[in-house]
Symmetry: D2
Amino acid sequence: MEFTTLLEGIVARMRTAPDKGRVADYIPELASVDPDQFGIALALADGRFFAAGDADTAFSIQSVSKVFTLALALGRLGDGLWHRVGREPSGLPFNSILQLEHEKGIPRNPFINAGALVVTDAILAGHQPREVLGEILRFVRAAADDEHIHIDEAVARSETDHGHRNMALAYFLAAHGNFVNSPELTCGTYFHQCAIEMTVRQLAMAGRFLVGGPGKPNLISRDSVRRINALMLTCGHYDGSGDFAYRVGLPGKSGVGGGILVIAPGRASIAVWSPGLNQHGNSALGTLAVEHLARETGWSIFG
Amino acid sequence: MEFTTLLEGIVARMRTAPDKGRVADYIPELASVDPDQFGIALALADGRFFAAGDADTAFSIQSVSKVFTLALALGRLGDGLWHRVGREPSGLPFNSILQLEHEKGIPRNPFINAGALVVTDAILAGHQPREVLGEILRFVRAAADDEHIHIDEAVARSETDHGHRNMALAYFLAAHGNFVNSPELTCGTYFHQCAIEMTVRQLAMAGRFLVGGPGKPNLISRDSVRRINALMLTCGHYDGSGDFAYRVGLPGKSGVGGGILVIAPGRASIAVWSPGLNQHGNSALGTLAVEHLARETGWSIFG
Amino acid sequence: MEFTTLLEGIVARMRTAPDKGRVADYIPELASVDPDQFGIALALADGRFFAAGDADTAFSIQSVSKVFTLALALGRLGDGLWHRVGREPSGLPFNSILQLEHEKGIPRNPFINAGALVVTDAILAGHQPREVLGEILRFVRAAADDEHIHIDEAVARSETDHGHRNMALAYFLAAHGNFVNSPELTCGTYFHQCAIEMTVRQLAMAGRFLVGGPGKPNLISRDSVRRINALMLTCGHYDGSGDFAYRVGLPGKSGVGGGILVIAPGRASIAVWSPGLNQHGNSALGTLAVEHLARETGWSIFG
Amino acid sequence: MEFTTLLEGIVARMRTAPDKGRVADYIPELASVDPDQFGIALALADGRFFAAGDADTAFSIQSVSKVFTLALALGRLGDGLWHRVGREPSGLPFNSILQLEHEKGIPRNPFINAGALVVTDAILAGHQPREVLGEILRFVRAAADDEHIHIDEAVARSETDHGHRNMALAYFLAAHGNFVNSPELTCGTYFHQCAIEMTVRQLAMAGRFLVGGPGKPNLISRDSVRRINALMLTCGHYDGSGDFAYRVGLPGKSGVGGGILVIAPGRASIAVWSPGLNQHGNSALGTLAVEHLARETGWSIFG
């Protein structure tokens, strides 16, 4: 297969796609992003690398960061993490507080906001946010083999100013005794991790540790790789996870910045970015593009 | 790998497992099943076949039948089916009526009871239950290459007598205009499809059409194979689906009779049976056994 | 106070009211009712009686019948009834199935549909529907001192044909063991009790047993009078009960036929009817009219 | 009727009551209160006053304060308040966050915590907490005709330290745009208002403005009196409101400190206190005592 042609074809298709979705507008820094951008990158298990479109424009990775903090937390806490957060799809939007009330402060999974806050809270655990953010950045840089990845401070500040709902989730978790640090401290850390900026090139490189196989960054155990992929498949797109599994057939994690990291186990790490979101809060063109890529390559994990 | 040894080892392990779960007791026919039974069978993509334990004892496949009716419905209605039922995990028990009310009578997915009733209702669509049950049986027999598969009438009658909750779901769907036939007729058909009796040998054979690859029964398109596997992965174990994906890493569909059909795409169809259920209503030993099998074979779809 | 003038004034006001609501349309018999009708009647504790507007037109009392069956059930079962149904406002629409699932088949109160089905089921308790309907009619006729009150069979048949949601509730209650008779039998009885036809004259007369004081029909104990009035106040208008209490300040029970029975304890029984409904399913003009009446008479129970 | 004998009789009965409930233990200041205390006071509309038991021991009025802030807010904002908070019973515990999510940040009523936070936020509206707390105290002191009522600072501080759930509600309201001040500021004010200390003597005096009739403190309009009483009846005891209305038949507002203010419109203001709470968070003996009082006096508003 000629990957260059494939990616260029996808970029061309996306240019003329009828519905580019709506850019997230809850903070000015995201609302002002040009919606007509699209980039895609592919890091193959054999070491080859391909990219097309706006592959060198940095964007806010937002919830894609939850994959990296989960990897860190599993490495540090092991299965102990699962006392504080579940592994089931929630069937509800990313920021829902409903299930938390029914289930006594145990979030359904580590990829909804409440669960990701617990994961960050677990990593923070008495340390300074600065230290922990340094550790997260080191992990991402090592995964991507790129020292230039950093946090966009303006986005982080803006998240803090508009993060009332996440603060509500954090206080709710604290009220149920499922929080170690103060809501302000953990949310502050969380808002910064979400504000990490990356290009699709960097993100595809950073995803290689989840592809498995020889020569990949050996950051976590093979068991952890499988488990994170399983969680990405069942929970990575909130209440659009089942649809993504049905249409694409690969584990993925999206962010409201419009990025998606997709893993074809044993084959490739794929990053795609386009700022417009569909009704579930996942990149509209990004989803379409990886659906096309999966069909053309036959990389579905489902046969 | 020596599959005979592997399966015999699993059977031996399961004999001494500390917690065999609780046998379903909502109908006398299931409640009276001996809990100390365990069978496992493996139909490899290359045509080899292995079985161990109580592999020749027939059991009620119950919700595993939903896989076969979904395959039939997709073949007949194509994507039109998705106007009547969703593709998302529900995050709720198998027989919940909650989401139906919030979502105006569109069940979350075809594997919760409400969704399976819609699928059966769609296949029935004005035909006689007898005809449609004949069609379902022909499909299962063709898949298994076995003419001896039949319906246990005593179980079907007992389901009918105790099926108040499914009748409630059916009337609720009817109230929302998402039912073509009378609740009595569709539920009657559904109770019979759930009462199909099979051994793990027969079930493993019947699952081969979802394995893909050459030489398999070509009952549905490759796209449909992938999609059904995706739905089994995200929704096949109700509110235990995420946990099954995490621990086993393979698509599967369970039934309250204690059977589970598990697919290793491109590799094997696996059937396991043990009547005791865990808290999510899935076979306790069955889940444990396929978790062990997946770890030993490395067949996870997640890397 | 000159009640004739007051009622005529209310009738005149209602004629020019800007929003008459929407007539219930789930069965043809209700949908075809002329929305421009309005009647009001007042049976004072001292025996005087006043009426104005369309006071001699019979309408379907629908859920107002729940007051009479509750009175019958309390008389027969006493506090034992409260093992099967609660006494709390539900905060949800009249036909919701949500709380039933959370609360194991115990409806919140006897005035939501699920609760009223339990009440009718309790009265039925092995008897023939025909007998029990005779008993309900005898109670209503005795209360109203009027032998001409009867059931509209066409409405009852139509309810049966369109009663899927109530059938769903009944099967759900049966699934939780909170049903004595078959869902078909209890629902059949319930659909007939809802199809009782009355004029506002008859309904105001029939409500006198809840006014208390000397000379009223002595059908139930004073304790039961107080308790039924309390339930009407807190639960009589579904998720519009709080608003009715705030605006009118009197216990009342509405029906989708557009009738409302309102009690001013110690003072009067008030019946009002206008077929157009507001967003909570209660008569739009009826609510407005009794709000006006309560303000003019100062009959609020709240000071 | 001889009220002295009546109240003494109630005190004697309560001493031997088998179940005194459980003292609230979420803050140390409440947890350490002696559970064997019981006081009752009665301010009649004709000016007479009676008290018995521990009538001179001050307790934390907690949610009873919501009655006073609602009166203040209605006086200042009038019906505009109802754009920000509803008037329906919630059918859920006092601190539930569920309905907030379904209903876009509009709390069901002003007596659940979320609604009371909105009321306090509306009074605060840009002012300093100190000023507003002064205004609340002036209102309560004027109502009680007693300058000695004050805030227990130790309780207020402790509430602040343990108020995670209220902070969660406040941030959630802020996220929905239904908050004017910062969550910290409004919650701080709210925690102080809840920490007002009163005896049952003072509380019964302070409730007279809701009794109506000549010679009462004329702090709000008669319409507002009726409306606050209606809200107390339908929503004053959280998900135990229907039961209180059924058993007692009078408007009331409880607090987790064990106090209840009960209004017999036109007749009396009643205050009762005992620290042990029932399963709905309302004073166990307090509820029992007013049920007894209502039965003996025949003061039910329901006939």
